[in-house]
């Protein structure tokens, strides 16, 4: 007859095995963002397409300047208010971005929301060439050469994708490559919930 107390090590082992198994399924690279539910960072950056000479000096945030910001080739967080946005952080040097890119291009064809590309720590020519080669799903791409806006968005691994609502609040963050499943099950329902179609 086996005494119950001899089963204790086995039970402890099984428990440990269960916990370790659970640990294997967790992804330590997915650090929950503290920015969810917080206002998206403020910025005013040149568009990727803008030539450096055409980009106006930063800090001119008068009403007139805002009104013509599309012409003056800069884009700011204030231009995003009133619409739900998908913000996608990408770079031409980012291999994983290439994986998710066809999905974004496909999504952009039917998307009910504008997509802001955040071109992160890239060379302007490389970024433009990349878009010409693989397609441009972005309504606008802003050019974040030194990665400062990336830091403000808490970006630590490109690609990352955010959903920003009409009030400019970050509602969702996807770290790493977008998949059709994530898009269908998480992002599109969220966009609908936020009233993207309205």
């Amino acid at each position: 007859m086996i005494k119950a107390r001899f089963l204790v090590p086995l039970l402890v082992f099984v428990l440990l095995l269960g916990l370790l198994g659970l640990g294997l399924k967790l992804n330590p690279r997915e650090v929950p963002s503290p920015l969810i539910g917080k206002p998206a960072p403020q910025f005013e950056l040149p568009l990727l397409e803008a030539t450096p000479a055409a980009a106006p000096a930063a800090g001119k945030a008068t009403k007139a300047a805002k009104a013509v910001s599309a012409q003056t080739r800069t884009f700011s967080n204030k231009d995003m208010l009133g619409k739900v946005w998908l913000v996608n952080v990408w770079a031409s040097w980012c291999v994983a971005c290439r994986d998710e890119h066809p999905l974004l291009v496909e999504f952009a064809k039917t998307a009910s929301v504008p997509i802001l590309g955040l071109n992160y720590k890239d060379e302007r020519e490389d970024g433009l060439r990349w878009l010409a080669k693989f397609g441009n799903p972005y309504t606008f791409s802003v050019y974040d050469k030194d990665g400062r806006l990336g830091i403000d968005y808490g970006v630590y691994g490109v690609p990352e994708t955010f959903v920003v609502d009409k009030q400019g609040i970050i509602r969702y963050k996807q770290i790493g490559v977008l998949t059709p499943e994530i898009l269908q099950k998480k992002i599109i329902p969220l966009l609908k919930e936020l009233g993207a179609n309205a």
Binding site: P28, R29, V31, P32, S33, P34, L35, K121, D146, G147, R148, I151, D152, Y153, G154, Y156, G157
Partner: protein, 166 residues
Amino acid sequence: MHKFIIALIALGTLLLSGAGTATDAAPLAADPALEKRVMALSEELRCLVCQNQTIAESNAGLAVDLKTQIREQLSAGKSDRDILDYMVARYGDFVLYRPPVKASTVLLWFGPFVLLAAALGFLVMHIRRRRVLLEAPAELTEAEHARAQRLLRDDNTTTDVPEQHR
């Protein structure tokens, strides 16, 4: 002569390797006291690209950028607290190598001590029980006494075991 040449080559390689890394190094503040504060703060912060390194240790692009941020903010007169808050606001508590004690980190901070206390409690209990057993007078019941007598008398062949083939 040989030694001299070897020394020259060694010196040359040293200089060359120095020149090689100089291009990769992050821009340093001119003020060594400020640079010291930058390094001290960098050692408090986790690099999210290479998670088991501090941003002081890491040369990942993001770590270099964050060190630049720290340098700029310190030069602008921000306090250490301000900068840590700035990092936490963007990357969460995970960025801190010494996470704050709060509801979500209670298990992290005190879990090991709870386990230790439980293990010690178990050990003490176990030792006490053993001592009670050892100290108890080894009294035999009437039946046990009889059986012991029988065993001794029969010279290791027991009567209560069925007959076996030898």
